[in-house]
Amino acid sequence: MIVFDEVNKFYGDFHVLKDINLTINKGEVVVVIGPSGSGKSTMLRCINRLETISDGSLTVNGISVGDKKTDINKLRRNIGMVFQHFHLYPHKTVLQNIMLAPMKVLGQSEAEAKKIAQKYLEKVGIANKANSYPSQLSGGQQQRVAIARGLAMNPEIMLFDEPTSALDPEMIGEVLDVMKALAHEGMTMVVVTHEMGFAREVADRIVFMDEGRILEEAIPAEFYANPREERARLFLSRILNH
């Protein structure tokens, strides 16, 4: 469903993604880990063209992401994205945040969009905050709204870039629970996260990146018990002893 084929990316002279080959199938949950600056976010953001690739091919459902003829807005409808810092719209209520794209992009009526928004708010466990503004919510609640906002477009793919890194420890669980439920329902997910519990429980594959390369791909049990790469081992010992 998502296919990276010999993808390279440069920021000027800086080679940020090196020969990336990665195939993510429908319904798969792929967790991407690696040291800071290794290119995890960049790789994720290429999938919905928040970043453009310099070389190689990247397709989603067989459609070339980089192709000038590709209607990027149409492609993006099908790919939800959740950011580390939520990026909710501060001037809109929770409900309005979730209803905006379904109404403006999919052309849903207000009533229809509202019904769907409420359904997803219930799903992420904060139906009672529908009319609050983002600034009135805790970080964990904001992130759950952001997930609901992504889901309301009924996408086939959800991308998560360190969705719990900006949260206080006691709020991480509530967000991970929502993501786990989503994974169990068969959503195709690409998740940049260092949350090992999450990865062990729901990931089909771990992708380890370092200095712009994918160094290792393995199933979680294997990866955490016995990483093949020395760098992966080093990296794991560092996050474990933290």
Partner: protein
């Protein structure tokens, strides 16, 4: 003590000038806002040649004296004083407004654009629904200052016989040979416009701050 007979004897002239000043200011306010938004957008759209064009406009206009722009329309294009003054005022103010709006747009966090675009909204939709409403809040105070400056700058109409408040003051003064009192009343009329404007901006600022 102020000689109030100056005011009462020439009330019709004062009011006529007041009316012209209000009219010219209102027209220039709307026009400069429209041009200013347009230039701000031209400066930030992802298209370099347009950006350069917008930058050139702003740098050129805001770095020459207002009076020269007035003369361009009055002496150069031979428009009447009121018309030349109002157009010049609109153009001059628009360059400052463009800068204020651009700064406001740039101060909206990058993540807002990314979140909106990644949900499938187009660039234009994102600007209209997400970025501009947030920029608007940030831009209110500097915009208010520009509008206050605009009202005061409208006195430049008097130089080209623009029939405005200042021009009427000049007339009254040359007729009565009184200077001080005449212009005190002129100043009071200006304050009648600028103080409510200033209070209004302060009020808006507070109300918008609350909704966030």
């Amino acid at each position: 003590m102020l000689d109030f007979s100056i005011l009462t004897d020439h009330l019709d002239m004062y009011l006529e000038g007041f009316k012209i000043t209000i009219t010219a200011s209102l027209i220039a306010l709307v026009a400069s806002l429209v041009i200013g938004i347009l230039i701000a957008v031209i400066r930030i759209v992802p298209f370099k040649p347009l950006n350069a064009l917008g930058a050139a406009y702003v740098e050129f206009i805001r770095n020459i004296p207002l009076l020269i722009i007035v003369f361009f329309f009055f002496l150069g294009l031979r428009l009447d004083g009121l018309m030349a003054g109002t157009i010049a005022l609109s153009i001059y103010t628009s360059s400052f407004i463009a800068e204020a709006i651009r700064a406001g747009i740039l101060s909206v966090p990058k993540g807002q654009m990314e979140a909106a675009r990644s949900s499938g909204l187009s660039y234009v939709q994102t600007m209209r629904l997400i970025i501009l409403p947030q920029a608007f809040k940030i831009v209110i105070p500097p915009l208010g200052n520009q509008f206050i400056n605009l009202v005061k700058n409208s006195s430049i109409l008097s130089v080209v016989a623009g029939l405005d408040l200042m021009y009427q003051g000049d007339l009254i003064s040359s007729r009565t040979f009184v200077v001080f009192d005449v212009y005190i009343f002129v100043a009071i009329f200006y304050l009648l416009l600028t103080i409510p404007l200033s209070l209004g901006v302060g009020y808006l600022e507070k109300r918008l701050a609350k909704s966030n």
